[in-house]
Symmetry: D2
Subunit: 390 residues, 4 copies
Amino acid sequence: MPGNSLGKALTITTFGESHGPAIGVIIDGLPAGLPVKKEDLEFELSFRRPGRLFVSGRREKDEPEILSGIYNGRTTGSPLAILIRNTDVISSFYEEVKNKPRPGHADLPYIMRYGYENWDYRGGGRASARETATRVAAGAIAKKLLMLTNTSIAGHLISLGPIELDEKVSFEEILCSKYSPVRASKKSLESKYEELVKSATVEGDSYGGVAEIVVNNPPKALGEPVFDKIKADLAKAILSIPAVMGFEYGLGFKAAKMKGSEANDEIIFKDDKITWKYNNSGGILGGITTGEPIILRCAFKPTSSIRKPQKTVDLRNNKETEISVLGRHDPAVAIRGVTVAEAMVALVLADHAIRSNVIPQVKLSDKDVEIIENNWKRYVNSCKPTEGSQ
Amino acid sequence: MPGNSLGKALTITTFGESHGPAIGVIIDGLPAGLPVKKEDLEFELSFRRPGRLFVSGRREKDEPEILSGIYNGRTTGSPLAILIRNTDVISSFYEEVKNKPRPGHADLPYIMRYGYENWDYRGGGRASARETATRVAAGAIAKKLLMLTNTSIAGHLISLGPIELDEKVSFEEILCSKYSPVRASKKSLESKYEELVKSATVEGDSYGGVAEIVVNNPPKALGEPVFDKIKADLAKAILSIPAVMGFEYGLGFKAAKMKGSEANDEIIFKDDKITWKYNNSGGILGGITTGEPIILRCAFKPTSSIRKPQKTVDLRNNKETEISVLGRHDPAVAIRGVTVAEAMVALVLADHAIRSNVIPQVKLSDKDVEIIENNWKRYVNSCKPTEGSQ
Amino acid sequence: MPGNSLGKALTITTFGESHGPAIGVIIDGLPAGLPVKKEDLEFELSFRRPGRLFVSGRREKDEPEILSGIYNGRTTGSPLAILIRNTDVISSFYEEVKNKPRPGHADLPYIMRYGYENWDYRGGGRASARETATRVAAGAIAKKLLMLTNTSIAGHLISLGPIELDEKVSFEEILCSKYSPVRASKKSLESKYEELVKSATVEGDSYGGVAEIVVNNPPKALGEPVFDKIKADLAKAILSIPAVMGFEYGLGFKAAKMKGSEANDEIIFKDDKITWKYNNSGGILGGITTGEPIILRCAFKPTSSIRKPQKTVDLRNNKETEISVLGRHDPAVAIRGVTVAEAMVALVLADHAIRSNVIPQVKLSDKDVEIIENNWKRYVNSCKPTEGSQ
Amino acid sequence: MPGNSLGKALTITTFGESHGPAIGVIIDGLPAGLPVKKEDLEFELSFRRPGRLFVSGRREKDEPEILSGIYNGRTTGSPLAILIRNTDVISSFYEEVKNKPRPGHADLPYIMRYGYENWDYRGGGRASARETATRVAAGAIAKKLLMLTNTSIAGHLISLGPIELDEKVSFEEILCSKYSPVRASKKSLESKYEELVKSATVEGDSYGGVAEIVVNNPPKALGEPVFDKIKADLAKAILSIPAVMGFEYGLGFKAAKMKGSEANDEIIFKDDKITWKYNNSGGILGGITTGEPIILRCAFKPTSSIRKPQKTVDLRNNKETEISVLGRHDPAVAIRGVTVAEAMVALVLADHAIRSNVIPQVKLSDKDVEIIENNWKRYVNSCKPTEGSQ
């Protein structure tokens, strides 16, 4: 049964394998009138692109081609299709994988499910994190749509391996972490993360990390009883990301240790508006957004592909053996995972904003477009490092 | 937009408010031939029923009526509808709530979304955990279907407030925890949990807790790339439960602190079968089940309804005020939440088992029915406390 | 796989068998604030109720109970469940059917699909037209929602067996045909239809007929490229009605005999508004509503249940035999089918009106409610026969 | 809301405009192991390709590129994406259309819906029949899947304008009509159709036609109560085709004129198998396939684009005017429409075959693949005209 689509009012359907000709995504349900440029997609893609410091060395330009749904630079209400060709494919790294399933990877489950003979092992095939580039491209459009309500989404790594963020950070700092090569929201943290990542590379090992995503100025009253609670749809979207093993929002797992009188958030007046004292619930109550910032966290496991030899089996002779996973891999998938998680949050919120009439289903007005363009410009220009700083 | 349905191959659609005439569920997608008795539903419902020790005092018999989809005691392939009348409704408790939204509750978000005048405040309306009875009834049928592969699902509380389970427990012990009034899998833990719950009741406060759900002997190779990964669908189902603030599976958040060489699970031979050394991935790799036990955990926040006075606002006069939530509430929703979480896991697995041809979509064979009946009988009789012990 | 739900933004899920305890429907996706009374449902149900002249003699009161989704007489945004108990069930008529599948009926296909042993043969089980009562109840609510745009839907029989309507009729006449026992929009036609129906009853035979449904003042610009064209969704909804074997809109099959220069509708100005000269396209172009009246027709086959003996097989001994179908049946299902077809059109239009932001997804305003109430009152009172005339 | 996807177990999502860079389709839900070659797609596409005699002169090679979902020539269980670049685009024909909506076309409704400024008028944009090439490509794969049950689908024109087929034809003759440039199943009919089409071209006019699609050897027991009846899903799929204004199956509209004793089909034994005497119900009873040939018909209106001048309005000055539609158009869309209708039937049947476990959801066996390959070879080679005959 089909499992490659997500969203009800705004639906993405993705396709493509790591070492096939291309990956891509169809976005259906966009209202007409949204200005979309290739540059918008490239902006977001630049923050998950491989081939940079501290991430996989695969040199993909990730150049998106918009195939449909745009006329005169604006959406038409028809599905918008984005194609990204795979260009830097070196499948030879993967010959060994064909018979030695990699620990921590989807190799064996895919073989179990689809049959050894139908398994596109090259680069992990469909299970490869390469697929997430299409999510980021689609997420760029969702982010732009959300500019209508001046909603912005930002993520950072609150921990990497054993190292944890132990300071308060502003939304601005989180937003600017995308220019940090290790997705740190504080300079002091950045250097510690970098040390760790370097050590992992040297050891042929990898680290996990926890990403936190914050949504500033989210529309309130989004989310539907009972199963399409915003927290439920966020959890699904986040857990659909490869390597994510946990999700929490607001107090999260900490709430389980607390008393009701501590965890409950008092309802107060602030500037004559009803609000909550601590936003303990991370912007979501009863599965519906409160209008306070949405705060969620997700746990990425360490990159499964490591050079360090690990035990596995040889499928040809049914014997135990070892594998040292070569290829070009991230020392910590969590770093690039932050951008992917942001995209998933954007897609869920845009979907729900349309479901709740906050964003129109059919057509944006001229006024809408103006608001979006202005907010998007501000968003794109925020935090921009000065020439030569990166 | 509709948000009250879950599942693609096996779909449940629920309805009903806490203090309306009834709650209920339609289960669509069941193959013909499954023997279903009212007693099957009552068996599962008995473990979340209110009116027992340590849980809400509301005296609901939770008597399910099967309205359709059954002929001669077996499913016909048509939708099976279950109705549970609300009988012990005392709405007077809720008069105060109408103008004083309760901290930690969905009151205010529902008002924001649907309008004050359309808000059925009585007993929390649709946001009430009462709705989860319908999930448990539907889950009973999903559990029974899964008997075809001899799959069983059990849950327990691995922590309640500050108290944590610190021993290894067997699947059998977890399974039998349903007869513990505080959902403890160890006797020593049970008494500690009970003390805590009693103290909460005395203080007019409540506690959170962490439930762990284990699936024994799950079908392997369930789950679909990319968005309908089994971990994603489980996360959504679990987060759709009221009061759940976090989800993890396998190593979960712990993985984020680890190295790849620690978190990766070595692939080995055991009894001539390929398997994993530690099941670190909690039975799910690449979003697909491995055949190893599925292990997941979810964090329940403390019951939001507490007697202890908390700050809120009075909507009539826009002033800050206090509320002491009366009504009959659980000192820890996590206790009854375990049964609900089990039901959600059962529904997701049954849905995916049908999606993967492990359970037939249209009709069970006589052989299938025999296997199901035998395994179900064993399941129902397991752990049964001796006469008078509960 | 589930097949008992229809609609994306407004979804109905139906359940129930002809001779089971009850039939019912859940309507999900209704905005909050819509006033719904039991009487609204009963009004529409009265036009398809059995036990009247010229239709089946089964005496069902069809008394709907609203189980959820209403508070203070208005929708809450939660699913609205409607239950109709079966009261006048005489299953003994059906003992013969168990072994002698009825020509023209679903008996044999249901047996093929779900197995003889799982087949609820009593009254046709799920395949019975009794199920359509739930559609009419749901359709009543859809019709009421559409009062927001002052859209009304009416149907009549343009042919019954060999007799055809050969005059022009006004929308008002079509609307008032619901008070005709044979669904005729002209008095002269009514008497001819009645003669025909009486002759069929005497002969133990039945007749087919063609229903025409007209939507007055439909919202324009409804319908979505490519697969959810309004014509496609209408066709599915209409063909989902038992006994319907054909669908057409506008010129329909006649268009296939024509030249482009005849079938194309010229675009003109009328009262300073752009419009079409003849509405040849029945209010739908490119799958999108034009704002002109929607006109569609559907062919009902003759009632399959006839007293006249027909050849069939005896499943016990695999021999050819005869059956004379007893029970209480309509001489022409097309008569009551008109009301069902109206309901299906209402449900599709309401679904699309929500999908196109013509009706709000979440909540109606006070102004909206006032418009709806006024238009609904007018609709209910239109054509009312004077005391004693029926 | 999204409207560009169809199917539940086998889903297609299409994208692309007539004069944009490309059109394409993602097929999700294919089991692993199906051999798919570019040539399979090209084979089916060749029967709807423009640039041939009696159809539009646009010279599109319609060369499909498979972007994903295939490894070693077989499906992997991942979504299969097909891209067709637009190469012969002459948008200049359409400058006039921008301000003069064409009678019979979607121009005005698209403007109403999405706004004049967002309307891609070039070649009809998304409303163009060009989009149907993607359906034919996807349909090729569905047809191939259905080879597992040796099911084949064929269509022909039973009428073109006023000319009607008045002889019995065999399935073989229908199947071979694809090599007729006017889709006639009889040589005598072919010459009459050709004359008519030539006259239309000369007059600058066009004709409608009725296509009949026959499914030989369909799987029995496909179709789901209540809304996903096979007849309902077929009707939706067929009405989603541009220019189709009517659908019927079996006796269709004729049944409405008949008595029950005539329309009911007697159930008999033939070769020791239970069957129906006349297949009056066109292979579908109760919305479920009976195993007899499925027979359905659909009415295509005449091509809306005609050279003959027609009245329309000029949107710049709000005055009535005339338009003579240039561009390269079919004298009768019904001709190429037959191939599209075949594809839609194939897609619906394959979807339902998977929903009913007749085709596996996850993976084909080696035996399955062998059957498919053999039957496909026979299908492709059937009716092949001898060298130089076309």
